[in-house]
Structure formats: structure tokens, C-alpha cells
Symmetry: C2
Subunit: 389 residues, 2 copies
């Protein structure tokens, strides 16, 4: 019975209350019980997204939600401005291209955040208003970088284009004020801050975005926002929903509301700060220059092989960390403090990293320094919380 610790940035650990809610007897999706469930979910989602916009729900993983945003907003030959700072920014471009949408790339060096002025320049140069949408990533999980959606929203509002945000890994862990920040479409998924297994995707749709949806000519059926909207007043989904995941989602939303969104964001901020401090105290270097609060990316120290490091953490200590993806393979590793995580998950991560590095012969590590530094941050501002009744 080796004990395991899942510290990857999605899927994240699922609280037992949420797992068990999904194991309850299945209900029929065209029943009053389901309508009640779905109404409660709508209400809870709006709080987490901080929006009054419609929140559409799809049985799919996050990429499906991204595809849904594209096929509902755009038409063949449209232009899209895509911020590419990592794997998930690139995914926006790949899906656009698969549908014949022209992509103008805003290439951001890996580990850095986009400068909002670059977006403003591109939009200003687009004198015929051909750019229909700006695609961004709230927390680019592949690099650990956070994007300033608020600043981008204040720019995009002055143009015809809509602002689309991949909030898949960021929702419920990084600040996102959908309405205040003028994010027209925010896409999210279940296996991150919502602490569920994967299998649900979400999309919020603003009034400005609905006008684009009406004009959109890309083909769609399963992803159709309009089909979803038509049955929303009746608290229904257009096609059979992932019922057990929705039963889990109700439990998750109720747990999140009990904690309170601001407390949730504070917790993630505190954990992120402690994690970064611990990493630096270990003598390692952070990779992201504008780090997101849900994942810490760390440069692989010289002389340590990435795959060996990740494998040893898992095989010897039972701790799942994430390596780098694509061109970052073996160059970085990533620690999640996302979703169902608290004080001792950070301690676990930092102490595991120290032990593995010493095991692998890294020199210059002062034993316990990382954990000590993390604890210092974790103690600060900590207060009695409600741990039960």
C-alpha cells in the first residue's frame, strides 16, 4: 500500500466527497431531479467564473471546449489573433488552422507573459477589422506563466474582436473576473480547480460573443452554442450530459462556495508563494517570469536528467510531478498547487524534490533549507480555518 501524491497540474486529486457524489445512483437527464441539479450548477459556475453570462456545459475534455469556442465564433477565412506562449496557446492556433481560420501569431518567448501592448498594436494595424477574435491562455500550464487578462480585456473591448480565454487550468486557482475583465468567452474544464475527474468542459458566452455566434458559419453540431442555449432556460443540455460528473460538480461547487472564492484564490497565492520560496531556497531557479498561482515551473538543475528526476520522485517517493512538454522536455519540471491542495502538499513537494536531488548526487543543497523557507511563508498570515463542522 504505497501512498501516492498526485501533484501534477491536471488531473489533480479529487476530494473523496466529490468522488462519492459521482458514485451516487444515476438519475435520468430529462427528469426534474436533473433540472434541479443543473440549475444549482449554473448558479455555482457563475460565481466561480464571476459572470452573469451563460455558462454552457459539454461532455468532453477541455480541448473540446476550445474547439467549441472556435467553431461557434468564427467563419471560414476569418482571422484570429493567437497568443502563443506555450503548448496550450499553440493549441488555439492548431484548432483554428484545422478549420481554415487564418492565424496571426503573437509569439511569446517560453517562460514569459505576453505584453498586452503587442495585442493592441496588432488590433490597431487591422484597419479592416478582419480579426474576429483574440485567443489567450489565463495560466499557460506548460510554462507556468500567468497572462494579464484584465489588461488585455481593456484593450480588446475597443475593437470588434472578442476576447477568448483558455481558463482550463486557471479557473478556481488564478484570479479570473470574467465580466469585470471583459472576457467574452472563457473555456474551462473539470479536472483542475474544480477538483473533479476530467470529462466536462465549460464555456461562458458574453453578449458581444453571442453576436459573433449568430454570424458564424463554421460547421458544428455537438459543440453548437445555440443548441446549448436553446435548452438552458429549461436547465437542460442539448445532448446526454456526463451525469455522474455533474453530480460530482454540484458537490465541488458547494465546497468551493463554502470556502469562498477570495479565500480560494488567497490559498493558491499563499501556496504558490511558499512553493517558489522553497524552490529558490533549494538553490534552484524558477522558469516563469510571471508565474501563475496554480503551478510552479522550475529549471532542471544542471547535471540532473529530467526523466530520471520525475521517475525517481514517483517510483521511490510516490510523488507525481510533471516534466516539461515538447521543447521543454528535460528542461523544466512542474509542481502543481492547484485545486484540492493545501499547506502540506507544498511541504511534500519541496521535501520530495530535495530528497530526489540529493539521491541523484546534486551538490550544494543545504538539507532542509527548502522546506524551512516554505514553512516560513506558510506560517505567515495563517489563521484558524473551518476544518469541519
Amino acid at each position: 500500500m504505497p501512498k501516492r501524491y498526485l501533484l501534477t497540474p491536471g488531473p489533480t486529486e479529487v476530494p473523496p466527497e466529490i468522488s462519492l457524489a459521482g458514485a451516487r445512483p444515476i438519475i435520468h437527464h430529462r427528469s426534474p431531479e436533473f433540472r434541479k441539479l443543473f440549475a444549482e450548477i449554473q448558479e455555482g459556475l457563475k460565481i466561480i467564473f464571476q459572470t452573469r453570462n451563460d455558462c454552457l456545459v459539454f461532455a468532453s475534455s477541455g480541448t473540446g471546449g476550445m474547439e467549441a469556442a472556435i467553431v461557434n465564433l468564427l467563419s471560414p477565412g476569418d482571422m484570429a489573433l493567437v497568443v502563443k506562449g506555450g503548448k496550450f496557446g499553440e493549441r488555439w492556433a492548431e484548432i483554428c488552422q484545422a478549420y481554415g481560420v487564418h492565424v496571426i501569431s503573437v509569439d511569446v518567448p517560453s517562460g514569459e507573459a505576453v505584453d498586452p501592448h503587442t495585442i493592441e498594436n496588432e488590433l490597431r494595424q487591422d484597419s479592416f477589422f478582419k480579426i474576429k477574435a483574440v485567443f489567450t491562455t489565463l495560466a499557460e500550464t506548460s510554462t507556468g506563466v500567468a497572462t494579464d487578462i484584465n489588461a488585455i480585456g481593456r484593450i480588446v473591448r475597443n475593437y470588434k474582436a472578442v476576447l477568448v480565454v483558455d481558463a482550463i487550468s486557471g479557473l478556481g486557482s488564478c484570479e479570473l473576473r470574467t465580466d469585470n475583465w471583459l472576457a467574452d468567452v472563457c473555456v474551462a474544464a473539470s479536472q483542475k480547480g474544480l477538483m473533479l475527474p476530467p470529462g466536462l468542459a465549460f464555456a461562458t458566452v458574453s453578449e458581444k460573443a453571442w453576436r459573433l455566434v449568430e454570424e458564424s458559419k463554421l460547421p458544428k453540431y455537438y459543440w453548437s452554442f445555440e443548441k446549448a442555449k436553446n435548452v438552458l432556460p429549461d436547465n437542460q443540455t442539448a445532448f446526454t450530459p456526463a451525469i455522474s460528473l455533474l453530480m460530482s460538480l454540484k458537490e465541488s461547487l458547494s465546497m468551493l462556495r463554502a470556502e469562498g472564492l477570495d479565500n480560494i484564490l488567497d490559498r493558491h497565492k499563499r501556496l504558490a508563494s511558499a512553493c517558489r520560496t522553497g524552490i529558490i531556497a533549494l538553490g534552484l531557479q524558477l522558469f516563469a517570469r510571471h508565474p501563475a498561482d496554480n503551478v510552479t515551473s522550475v529549471k532542471m538543475p544542471p547535471g540532473i536528467h529530467g526523466e530520471t528526476f520525475i521517475k525517481r520522485a514517483k517510483d521511490v517517493y510516490g510523488v507525481s510531478l510533471a516534466g516539461g512538454q515538447g521543447e521543454l522536455k528535460n528542461k523544466i519540471f512542474r509542481i502543481s498547487h492547484l485545486g484540492y491542495t493545501d499547506t502540506f502538499d507544498v511541504i511534500t513537494a519541496i521535501s520530495c524534490i530535495e530528497m530526489v536531488l540529493i539521491d541523484l548526487g546534486m551538490e550544494g543543497i543545504e538539507p532542509g533549507a527548502g522546506v524551512r523557507a516554505a514553512m516560513h511563508v506558510l506560517r505567515k498570515g495563517n489563521k484558524a480555518r473551518n476544518f469541519g463542522l
Copy 2:
């Protein structure tokens, strides 16, 4: 604590073993544990589908699997022959049309099965081989009708077109021999014979179908068969899979293999036969002329209002039956004996129907006649089975 009985043709009841398997701790989908799980699932699916073809898995409900079949096989302007005998046949046509595929409809009167010769005639008249695919439905759940896929397969094999089967409600309850019957693409979903919650779709792909996939020009990303195929040898999915549902699926496939496919099909045949016999003994009339073994459709008796009937069964007796959909609303009702169902689910259904009809003032019912007739069938050929250890 009123006890509830879900006798709708999907979602169906989920055995507790399967629900609890999905509540186990989540694993990462890029881990060796997941690869082992997915390899076992592949093996189990091939037995249930009776195929050596690739079985692709999507995080979506069944309609997503149908859309995947269309966007991977066809190109804009292609022609498709669609058998329309109910709501789900019509769905094939709707998705084709959403993607600019021309539909040649084979309209089948509601409650009847398609005559395979009609399909042969259409294909024979297509002298320029413009028809790329024939879309059919194994068990048309909206009418309770079974299609003779075997006969259609022997026709379509002689043409360039591929045979695509919506086996969503039929897989694991109605006979389907994917390879023997030359069904090129079979689409299924989790919430029917596989006894899982909704949220997974499947598609088998034959060699003949893969050749069409190579030519296909409809836009796709999330549904891409090629992306799924590329990572299949590594026991991976292209995008984050619905991990908890896959953990449940492994349990389901192991339960189904323990029972044995032939025993499963025999059980459904016996339950269907008992249900139909009970319905006739109650003085009611079957709706389907070629009934499927997973659902029994019954004409609503004169003087009984459909919605009142369904509501009373649920509100007073806790039994969820299904009404008619679309133009069949209030004209039929449907009883599922699909998936996790056995002897006493049929007895429950027939006795509930009798009680509700008497409650609603229907005359001419001989009390107990339906159940007695059903029991007669259920006893016949019954033998000791393995009910545990």
C-alpha cells in the same frame, strides 16, 4: 427513502461495483498505470464489439461519436445514404447536413425496420459511386426497432461506400458482430449496455474506413481519428480522457467478460421476450414490428394520456419509464431491459404498468395477467447462474 427504479433506455442503472471503481483515486493519464488500464480496456472493447479493428475512445456523449464518424469519413459535398426510422436515424442526417454532406434519405415508417433491399437499390442506382457512406442504427431506441445490420453489411461490402452503425443503445444488449457483419464504423456510448454513466463515446474503424479517413476533408481536431490512432499503440488518447469513467469501464468490461457475451445477449433476449409477452397479456399492443432486445415500445392504450401515465409511474411507484419522443410523444411508452437488468426488473416494469393503468381507470385488465405471462417466459430455460463466488 422511496426506492427508485430506472427503467429508461439510457442512462441505465450503474452497478455499485462500477460506480465505486470510478470513485477510486484519480491517476494521471500520461502514466504507466493509465497505459495498463487503457490496454485492458482496448482488449475488453474488442470482445464486446466482436472486432479486431481499432476501438477509439472519446470523452463525449454518443452524439459526439456520431459526429466523429461523419467528420472523419467524409468531405464537403459527399453523398451519404441515411436510414431514417426514428430520432437517431434523423440525427445522422442532421449532422451530415450541418457539415455540408448531401443526404439521401431512406425513410422508414416509424416502428418498422428498413428493408435491406432498399439500400441495395439506392447503391445500385449510384452509378458514379458518389455515396461514400451508409448510416444506420442497430437499435433505434426512439421506436424500439432493431435493424438487420448483417444483411446490410453483405450488401454494402460490394460497393465503395462504408457501413456506419449507430450502436449506441445496442452494444452489449443486441447482437452485433462488427467484423463478421462487415460494419466498417460502429459508434457506441457508455451509458447503455456498458452500464456506465454517460460521458464516453467509442468508434471502431475498419481498414476500408481508414482509407476513407485518409481522403476526408471535413474539418476536425478533437474528433480526429488519426490523432487518436497515432497514440493508440502507446495506449494513450489524443486529449485528456475521462479517467474516472475509464476506471469504471475497466470494471464493466471485466463484469461483462465474466458473464460472457453470448450469455449477455441471451439474457437480453429472454428479458425482451418476457416483457413483450407480459405487455400482450395485459391487453396492450407492441409498437415495433421488428423489436430490439434492449427496449420494448408499447402503443399508449386509448384513453390513457401519455405524460400522466409516465408521471404516475414515477411519482407514485418510483419507476422511471420513457415516453415517446418527437412525433411519438404521448403515442407510445418504452420499457428498457438494457444493461444492468435481470428477471425482476421485467416483473417490476410489468406490474407497475398494470397498477398505473388500473389507477388511471383503464378497463379490461385482468389483474396479474401480465406478470403471470412474463414469469412463464422467465422461468423457461432458466438455470443456476453464478451469483457471486
